[in-house]
């Protein structure tokens, strides 16, 4: 090829001025409708929501007079929102951890050159194709304390059957603000359903990670006399660090947005033991008509997510060629 790559594409900003052609305008024209749509519907609306969160609009009739940080102070002193933050913390940690461990475990099993690999893989991933609402409806019945899973536990001889999502116990229940800090046991039921649905996602990511590790690396370790277990910890796992970052960030992202599953399965729960910020926002805004407080909750949700997503996006895209 005689032509220099720089002449071919318009990637180099600092070259001598090129003649004005339609070719240089088309890409921007193509993108323009999407740029406008995202600018308005994502960034414009976020700013709008931000503005609402500083107003007195806490009735059905919009009142856009300035209220300072009063809505934020109100939600942070609210029993319900404090419960939300506690629940979100415990839900996220357990859901991410368990999904990750099961996902990695299954990926390693599936990667052992097994028969019917496609079938097993499909079985572990299919819940991802199902709506959270459907998952919630089905698991609500499976974990109904008087039937379902508890029938099996009873048959196995268990006498203290778990009360699942109707349990209001909080462990260890340390007083904190207006609430008791600790893991609400009712959340475990929701976590089980969420792990059932999402662990296949972790498996798929880990499996693609395992498949991209060159075989000679594994073989080299085997020649060195490392047994399978050491090979896994010393050679394979470090190679999966980047995948683990992706898995954790994506699962955190899903966990923070959890809404449908809770809505269908448990609702906010007694004393808000299974409530989430997403649910609180929805009900505060559209059922309670406290628009400004709802807006404040959603801004907190956005900030919590941005802490994880913005560095991740920057890091993911920086690795690419310019």
């Amino acid at each position: 090829m005689a032509m220099q790559p720089a002449e071919m594409t318009i990637t180099q900003p600092r070259r001598a001025r090129k003649p004005w052609t339609w070719e240089r305008v088309y890409p921007i024209l193509t993108l323009l409708p999407s740029i406008i749509a995202i600018a308005v519907f994502v960034y414009g609306f976020i700013v709008w929501t931000g503005v609402v969160s500083f107003t007195k609009w806490n009735t059905l009739v919009p009142d856009l007079s300035w209220n300072g940080f009063a809505n934020y102070r109100a939600i942070f002193q609210d029993f319900r929102f404090q419960s939300d933050l506690r629940n979100l913390l415990f839900f996220t940690v357990l859901f991410v951890l368990v999904s990750m461990i099961i996902g990695l475990f299954l990926a390693v099993l599936v990667d052992q050159k097994i028969r019917l690999e496609g079938l097993f893989r499909s079985l572990f991933i299919f819940p991802m194709a199902i709506a959270f609402i459907v998952t919630g409806v089905v698991w609500q019945w499976l974990l109904n304390p008087s039937t379902g899973v508890n029938l099996i536990l009873k048959a196995l001889g268990l006498t203290h059957l778990p009360k699942w999502y109707v349990d209001i116990t909080i462990v260890p229940s340390i007083p904190w603000g207006h609430i008791k800090f600790g893991l609400p046991l009712a959340l475990l039921a929701v976590i089980i359903a969420a792990v059932w649905q999402m662990s296949g996602f972790a498996m798929a990511l880990y499996l693609s990670g395992l498949r991209s590790i060159p075989d000679d690396l594994k073989e080299a370790a085997a020649v060195d006399g490392a047994n399978a277990w050491t090979t896994f910890w010393r050679v394979i796992l470090p190679q999966l660090n980047a995948v683990t970052v992706t898995v954790v960030i994506m699962l955190i992202h899903i966990s923070m947005k959890t809404f449908d599953l809770i809505y269908a399965m448990t609702g906010p729960g007694a004393a808000f033991v299974t409530d989430m910020p997403s649910m609180d926002m929805f009900q505060t805004t559209f059922q309670g008509n406290h628009y400004a407080q709802g807006a404040a909750i959603s801004i907190i949700m956005l900030l919590l997510l941005a802490i994880f997503i913005v560095p991740y996006l920057t890091y993911s895209l920086r690795g690419e060629k310019p």
Binding site: Y26, L106, A131, V134, F282, L313
Partner: protein, 273 residues
């Protein structure tokens, strides 16, 4: 050798236990949906029905059919539009980079990670003022806009894999921007269209928050209808389970036949992939 045999046996045993665990909810939902009302009780949840009774499917269909129709009217156009716009965007961002195109891409991508609660109040007001509240076209518009980031991402990453040399040959012949897109890029894009088609259809079909906020009966998509069905205490469990399976079936069928492409969408959605 025999140790290896034992290891393999244990491996398959563990895999089968997990597979059974993942299938367990499907089994329970299915057998329950096939029971007559008289056999649905708490103590006999795990027992097979004595005879197959489809009356709960009939009842569920009666309650869900408007929602199923709405969801189809919603998911099909939204998927088609999002795929077309995504392909054009991906082409512009991968083959015609301009100063700032990467930053623009990053800002675009962030749109798919926001909690939609943070745009919900303005969205409701705007939809209401332009007369699209509680309408299928309104929901299509919303799904197209918030589906744009992932569609753009999938096509862009797909097109990055097409060598620039391919376009160069056409460019020397004097083929322009849209000509290159039509003659070279589009014919190679079929897999990307399948991936985004499956992904977007599944997302729109399964979506709940926008549907619950922006519609009221009888314009509600199937997931809201299912939630209403199971939310009413008088409805029997067999009807709820039949409804749940019915609502899940379209995306499940797509998954069963095109699972490979679904997983590709899944991996692409995590930005690296």
């Amino acid at each position: 050798m025999s140790l290896r045999r034992v290891n393999r046996a244990v491996l398959y045993l563990v895999l089968c236990i997990f597979a059974a665990g993942y299938l367990m909810p499907v089994y329970v939902a299915l057998i329950t949906s096939l029971k007559p009302n008289s056999e649905v009780d708490l103590a006999r949840m795990w027992q097979l029905p004595t005879r197959i009774d489809l009356s709960s499917w009939g009842q569920a269909f009666e309650r869900l059919s408007p929602g199923l129709a709405t969801s189809l009217e919603l998911a099909i156009p939204a998927t088609i539009i999002v795929a077309i716009v995504g392909a054009c965007n991906g082409y512009a961002l991968s083959k015609w980079r301009f100063p700032g195109s990467r930053t623009l891409f990053q800002w675009l991508l962030f749109g798919m990670f926001i909690p939609y609660q943070s745009v919900l109040i303005p969205l409701l007001k705007v939809m209401d003022s332009i007369g699209l509240y509680n309408s299928v076209p309104g929901l299509v518009l919303v799904h197209v806009i918030y589906g744009l980031p992932i569609a753009t991402l999938i096509f862009r990453n797909f097109y990055v894999g097409i060598p620039d040399d391919l376009l160069e040959a056409g460019r020397i012949d004097g083929t322009g921007y849209w000509g290159l897109f039509r003659s070279i890029i589009l014919p190679l894009s079929v897999p990307a269209f399948v991936v985004i088609g499956i992904w977007e259809f599944t997302q729109v079909w399964n979506e709940f928050l926008f549907a619950a906020t922006l519609t009221t009966p009888p314009h509600q998509p199937v997931m809201v209808a299912l939630q209403n069905l199971s939310g009413s205490q008088i409805v029997q469990w067999n009807v709820q389970m039949a409804g749940a399976i019915m609502a899940a079936l379209p995306t499940l069928i797509v998954y069963i036949f095109l699972g490979k492409y679904f997983v590709r969408g899944l991996l692409a959605g995590s930005v690296k992939g």
